[in-house]
């Protein structure tokens, strides 16, 4: 019961986004033990941003990008073409499936793709546009 009550209290504080000591203190009932109230408030304040980050990280979402690895290769020949020098990019994205669905054992899948110079340029162009949008939104 105690653990459950503490859990509810901390969840409530994170939900409401309370950051001031007075706001948290006002949650306790009138006749609550003064020192205990202050101690709990102090501990909550110390942990509040970590808990909030945790809540943000574990909210429902699409699968999340976890890692990016890449390599540039040059194709020099194949059974049908004896000589060539074609650079290609090999990209491996590690994607973690929805945290909320996986609980304690996250499922990470690897997506490996090949990009040519043209498709790499397409990707860069799109990413550049996302960056421009981000700056536009940030400046508002």
């Amino acid at each position: 019961q105690l653990v459950s009550a503490l859990h509810n209290l901390t969840r409530h504080v994170v939900y409401r986004g309370l950051t001031e000591a007075e706001d948290i203190l006002s949650l306790f009932p009138e006749n609550f033990h003064q020192n205990l109230k202050n101690l709990l408030t102090k501990i909550i304040l110390e942990n509040i941003s970590a808990w909030r980050n945790e809540a943000e990280a574990s909210q429902i979402s699409l699968p999340r990008l976890v890692d990016v690895d890449w390599r540039v290769d040059i194709k020099t020949s194949s059974d049908s073409i004896s000589r060539m020098a074609i650079p290609t990019c090999l990209l491996q994205l590690k994607i973690q499936e929805d945290v909320a669905l996986c609980g304690n054992s996250p499922v990470v899948s690897a997506l490996t793709l090949e990009l040519s110079k043209e498709t790499l340029d397409t990707m860069l162009e799109s990413l550049g546009r996302i960056r421009d949008q981000l700056s536009a939104v940030a400046n508002k």
Partner: protein, 187 residues
């Protein structure tokens, strides 16, 4: 797969064959079975994506083998052998017609692109969002980037992969691509 082809009306089957030929011609990176399946389901045809993929693979194999061996239309139909009797007439008609029209245009020599053993990047779609509230935080201002990559796997099927990134992750993502491009310049 023959019995599943029964489920496909002639125009959709023709469209599938057309896409397969274009893929073999390297005109398109892959066959968008997911999209075709969705359209068929919307018009009431009960077919699932897995079955459509199998059909696409079988037809693709049929056409590419025929191209490699320079088969004429009659030879192709003979290769179908026993299957001809199980396939619906309209399907055989489509195969005949497509092969008559297009067999000469299929280039048997493969170029560097078809040597892929991994998926090929086809397209990227993106969205920038801000999470405003959730069951754990009433007031959020959590920006994120959602990305959907279209990938053509080695067999030519196009699949979509969606995922999210935080802003710092996106910036790192962008930086990695810029580095790749820089390396490609020097190579």
């Amino acid at each position: 797969a023959a019995d599943k082809i029964n489920l496909m009306p002639q125009d959709f089957f023709a469209e599938l064959c057309e896409q397969i030929i274009q893929h073999l011609n390297h005109k398109i990176p892959g066959v968008n079975t997911a999209e075709l399946c969705q359209r068929m389901q919307t018009s009431g045809i009960e077919i699932n994506a897995g079955d459509l993929e199998k059909i696409a693979n079988v037809i693709s194999f049929l056409f590419s083998t025929a191209a490699r061996n320079s088969l004429s239309t009659e030879e192709l139909v003979t290769t179908l052998g026993n299957a001809v009797s199980t396939l619906p007439k309209h399907a055989v008609q489509v195969i005949r017609h497509v092969w008559n029209e297009r067999s000469k245009s299929i280039s048997v020599s493969e170029d560097a692109r078809s040597m892929a053993t991994v998926g090929q990047f086809v397209d990227i779609k993106w969205k920038l969002g801000v999470a405003v509230s959730s069951d754990s935080c009433r007031s959020l201002k959590y920006p994120y980037v959602t990305v959907m990559l279209k990938v053509a796997d080695p067999s030519g099927q196009i699949t979509d992969k969606s995922f999210e990134m935080t802003i710092p992750q996106f910036q790192n993502f962008f930086r990695q691509f810029k580095e790749m491009a820089a390396v490609l310049e020097t190579v």
